[in-house]
Amino acid sequence: MNQKSWPKSNSDHCIRCATCMSICPVSRVTPLFPGPKQAGPGAERFRKAGDSSENEWIDLCMGCHLCDLVCPSNVPISELTLLAKVTYFHKKGRSLRDWLLSHPSQFGWLGSSFPSITNSLLNHPLVKCMLDLLFKIDRGRPFPKYQSPTFRQWFKTHSSRGEKKVAYFYGCYTNTNEVEVGRATVKVLEANGFEVILPPQNCCGLPMLGTNDLKGARKMALKNIPSLLQTIRSGVDIIFSSTSCGHMIKHEYSHPLNILGAEEIANHTFDLFEFLRNLKESGNLNIQFKKLKIKAAYFAPCHLRSLGIGFPALEILRLIPGLRIDNIEADCCGLGGTFGFKKEKYAISQEIGKDLKEAIDRLNPEMVLTDCEGCRMQIRHLTGLKVLHPVQVLGDALL
């Protein structure tokens, strides 16, 4: 297979081996979802180009991409399913709920302007009850807290210095809900000699994919591309700390969004720990660490697996003296971004998460580390443990 012929949406390549069925987190917990084999290539045979899927169950696919990873025939299963979902909802129409869930960037600024009011409102039982009844946003799902100042606001007051420049795509969630992750990222990059710059950026568009709004996702991508292109063309690499945003930019902007310039950007965009690992390979990583006596467990998010870079955070963290870090043997946290907020999917999301919780309980760590904000939210909800981005521990370890 060469670059010009990467997987086409050809369901005939599917040999019905059912390997995808062995890994799909949704079909593992509910028979309501017939599984990736059926949802993707199977049903595709009954859908002519432009036809919508006949079945609502198609929306039970979380878009975790695990099926793609195990298909021996290179069938782009999750893409086939996504396109079917998009067509289905295009015909059916999308709900206000889905609009709300996919546009957190629209009111993130509002949340961060009045964080204490927002946080108490969003997590007030009455408000949650109303959101549940009116918008079908499950009351069981806690909303993340908003912070002030935002990451962008903090960065304005911070002067970054270094010999080389690197651009940081921080993502909506880091900006308004987990500023400490952004600060740790900046600290680590500066400790390795980089001046951090923030290119103009918007939401990467991934939440729109989660609500089957391909047009909306394209819109966000087109907003981001010019500034990202300009950045890399000026010789500056881009790094991301959220594996979900990163996967969107590196892969989904090309497929299925087919945006011009996406491939060029992808070649110069790196996961933070992938970037650090490359530094390590060339002997340029700052490994002046103090001892951290922590028993931690690491969880690899689905989008990280799909990035195909291995688990670089685990490799780098193992360099920290005193840190005990075990890999959690589980496949998917179950949140699926917007998926687990939806009332009709909450129970499925939690059932998938049960397996992860059991795996974490077995390891009995003090804290859990994972690169995806969605996983962090879910693991906190499942276990009540302290959950951090690996960069936060790395930042703490630097002398």
């Binding site: 060469n2 079909s27 290179n74 892969h251 491939e263 799909s306 195909g308 688990f311």
Partner: protein, 410 residues
């Protein structure tokens, strides 16, 4: 990124190669698209299951294996020898400490019941399946589940001349369930309590209860012990159709070990191109659209499997090896690929890569083609694993020894 050893292929042979290399302290990358036969087949460990070794008379496999190797010197086993095959199998076994172990009954093959209602000879049997070897001498009750279409208990009961009962899962009458769902339910005490009670009511004079191989992914022996307690009879598993839960157990154990040991584990991506310069592989390229990433290593193990996984490609006229375009042995015109009957031993199954005794790929004159590439697994030529019932043995033995050859060269 540079590694000591890159393993191409994540089936059983690739996993064995990576395990062998990482346990020798080497920096390893394993890359694979899919998990090979582990998702599909019965996944007890076949070594050599030809008729003479499948009989009720207990012949030691090792002795007959030695003789068979003398008679088939070109077979992958011919490059290894019975002693060393044993060593590789021990290395595999070391991954499965009690209670879930792989054992040979009396050091020889046994006949295990299959999900098709037949018997097949196999060598190393996981603990949860072992009691199936006594099926001919005992009164058995087989358990099926309505909606679980990959195992028809009644059909098996007709073949094995015993009774079967098919449980209806409440609320699930319309839905189809697959083995992963069922295996997960089996891990829940409330589910086991329910089926335990149901099955106990159905027992007449049976001595042994047979389930499809779905007794949980993480702790099959724990699941079985609990079921045995609730039913009051010993329990065993029979392999069913894919996805294979026993195979997933094997995959998960390898994955756990490899990641723990720091192997870079790239599941989900295939090697799109290999760059060769003067008999050395310089680098491989992996396509994860739209990105092409290169990896280099001092040595490479090609364990990419046969047609299903794309290690070998066939079109209307020819067969080729996908990554290095290595010459293939046993290769004839298309008219000669297949026998007349579906169950014939088709000549095309013997097509593959020929290697010397150190697993280097060789040309027609026997000269090694690539000095830093070794070949392992079912992509090798001169075996017919379906007829021989030798698949896992070939994968384990060649994966282990090809990696050893690679490591020795470092």
């Amino acid at each position: 990124m540079h590694y000591d050893l890159i393993v191409i292929g994540m089936g059983l042979s690739g996993l064995m190669a990576a395990k062998t290399a990482t346990e020798a302290g080497r920096k390893v990358l394993i890359i694979g698209k899919g998990i090979g036969g582990l998702a599909l087949f019965s996944n007890s460990i076949d070594v050599l299951g030809i008729p003479s070794l499948a009989g009720p008379e207990t012949k030691s496999l090792k002795d007959d294996l030695s003789q068979w190797i003398l008679d088939h010197p070109n077979h992958p086993y011919g490059k290894i020898g019975a002693e060393k095959i044993e060593e590789a199998l021990s290395s595999f076994n070391a991954l499965f400490p009690p209670p879930y172990t792989f054992q040979a009954k009396n050091g020889s093959n046994s006949l295990l019941p299959t999900g098709a209602g037949t018997f097949r000879p196999t060598y190393l049997i996981p603990s949860t399946m072992m009691k199936g070897t006594t099926i001919k001498n005992k009164k058995i009750l087989l358990i099926g589940f309505k909606g679980y279409k990959d195992f028809y208990a009644q059909q098996l009961a007709d073949s094995f001349l015993c009774r079967a009962v098919t449980l209806s899962l409440s609320g699930m009458s319309q839905a189809e369930i697959n083995s992963t769902t069922l295996a997960r339910w089996m891990e829940q005490p409330t589910f086991r309590e329910w089926i335990g009670t149901e099955i106990k009511k159905q027992i007449l004079n049976e001595e042994l209860v047979g389930f499809p191989a779905v007794l949980g992914l993480k702790d099959p022996m724990g699941v079985r012990k609990d079921l045995e307690k609730r039913i009051g009879l010993p329990v065993f598993e029979i392999p069913a159709l894919p996805p294979s839960i026993p195979g997933m157990r094997i995959f998960r154990r390898f994955k756990e070990r490899l990641i723990q040991r720091g192997v870079t584990f790239l599941l989900g991506h295939s090697v799109s191109k290999a760059y060769v310069n003067r008999e050395r592989c310089e680098r491989i390229e992996v396509l994860n659209p739209p990105l092409l990433t290169s990896y280099t290593a001092d040595c490479y193990i090609l364990a990419s499997g046969r047609f299903m996984g794309g290690g070998l490609k066939a079109d209307r006229e020819k067969i080729s090896e996908s990554i290095f375009n290595l010459p293939l042995s046993q290769y004839e015109v298309r008219e000669k690929w297949f026998g007349d009957s579906f169950f014939d031993d088709h000549p095309v199954h013997g097509v593959g890569i020929s290697t010397d005794s150190t697993f280097h790929p060789i040309d027609e004159s026997g000269r090694p083609i690539l000095e830093n590439v070794w070949v392992a697994g079912t992509i090798l030529a001169h075996h017919h694993f379906i007829q021989e019932k030798s698949r896992e043995g070939i994968e384990i033995a060649t994966g282990y020894w090809a990696a050893k050859q690679g490591i020795d060269s470092l």
